[in-house]
Symmetry: C2
Subunit: 273 residues, 2 copies
């Protein structure tokens, strides 16, 4: 196996595959420039602290950007604790392994403009404060939740924790407007704290709250968002069997938060109905 | 990269490393013969059903055994959902990827004979019935728990779930004797259902119970066990800071369950004090 091939894949015994012992980031890159780069670096650093993995040099993390093509692409960075250790016991010192891949990316303007249909998932997220918020490689809950539906009309699934609180969607964060105020679920028990979410919390008065699904019955607008797709307004919410629970008509409320999010990502900020 | 090298490692995008989307088994092999093979196959099959991964042909899983050396070795089998899919959404149909490695193995007779010191871990296991019992690749909780101590005198750490019930140790199952009766924690909310545990439940009247750590104050004997190490009697239990909570003196109670477990694994059944 050449050194180049070795750089590309993972050895049999890498702890990333053995235990999901690592972290990842997916970064939107426009013409070689990473969007929300500080937020991605901050979350990765938080993950490294949480897992006890040495933080890679930011310059090393930025190196793949030199190879990014014109236009939009997505940079997937993966950092594992590397090989070694005795079973679950981590190696001391660890020699983390960093791998990355650049791929073309296309967001979905119809979802921006027309909004999306989402459903509640049956799966409940386990409560694990030690892993909450960070983007680690233990993502079986997301995989199982995403496998709950196959129809292309359903864009995302909403997840609650094992005590029933709203947390996130399978790969997006959740935002809503209630009585004119913006809110998003707290993520101190489970869930991934998205970088677009971090940027919006920084720019706007958004309250982090504990809320149950019933709260959605009284919201004026509901959105899903992440740093790749931007913000999708929700126009229909289904139960876990795909039966409509609730509908929203897109209006200026929806467009205001969307404009803010899209300004951060360089996506269109005017998406008039 | 040659085909042989490709067989050995994992491609960048394998879902095993991306999401921990897979399963593993570690099998004790004696002179080419796998111990508890039916139990390992049954757990793997249960995991495949739970994750929606096609079950590999048992004959294919047994193929590595032909290469096992004389004496004791451990066969690590890893099965991932393979590559593909759209993000968390699983590929349809999946093309699972199977990898394996054989390594020499040596159990620890001093731990059989003298017993071990264990401690409570601070980390609590998240409650996730969809993943409970199976040996999947999302093992960050085990890694974080195992990182709580570094002294070689402490053999294992006990884990409770987020509601405080005893579940398991970081890589072993838990058994105790209370009022002359054998018990082990139920594993329907979290934890890994070990193959030695399965064999003992089959052979002996062991009750699966919900129990809190206080229950250990009244047990006559406490053991940890798995299919590689056999059964370790616990002689000292510490709190999460390493201060002694409780001690046990080894006696005939301890030796009886140990003999049963070691009979299953072909380890010494007479370990008189």
């Amino acid at each position: 196996m050449t050194a180049e091939a070795a750089e590309d894949g993972w050895p049999f015994e890498d702890r990333g595959v053995a235990y999901g012992d690592g972290l990842f980031e997916t970064v939107l890159v426009r013409d070689g420039r990473p969007l929300l780069w500080e937020e991605h670096l901050a979350r990765l650093a938080r993950g490294c602290r949480g897992l006890g993995i040495p933080r890679p040099d930011p310059a090393r993390l930025a190196r793949p950007l030199a190879e990014a093509p014109e236009g939009l692409s997505v940079l997937k960075l993966m950092l594992t604790r590397g090989s070694g250790g005795r079973g679950y016991a981590p190696p001391d010192p660890p020699e983390p392994r960093l791998r990355w891949r650049l791929a073309p990316f296309m967001p979905s303007p119809p979802r921006w403009r027309q909004g999306v249909r989402v459903r509640h998932c049956r799966l409940r997220l386990g409560i694990q404060p030690a892993l909450a918020g960070i983007k680690h490689l233990n993502r079986l809950e997301n995989v199982l939740a995403r496998a709950e539906w196959a129809d292309a009309d359903t864009a995302e699934g909403l997840l609650c924790d094992s005590e029933g609180r709203l947390v996130e969607a399978t790969c997006m964060n959740l935002f809503w407007q209630r009585n004119g105020l913006l809110e998003t679920p707290r993520l101190d028990r489970c869930g991934v704290a998205g970088t677009l979410r971090a940027a919006l919390l920084e720019r706007l008065p958004i309250r982090e709250v504990d809320a149950f699904p019933e709260a959605l019955e009284r919201v004026e607008a509901l959105w899903l968002g992440n740093s790749l797709q931007g913000l999708w307004p929700v126009v229909r919410l289904d139960d876990a069997r795909g039966r409509a629970l609730q509908r929203w008509t897109l209006g200026q409320d929806h467009r205001r938060l969307q404009a803010e999010a899209h300004d951060v990502l360089g996506y269109p900020t005017r998406l008039d109905d």
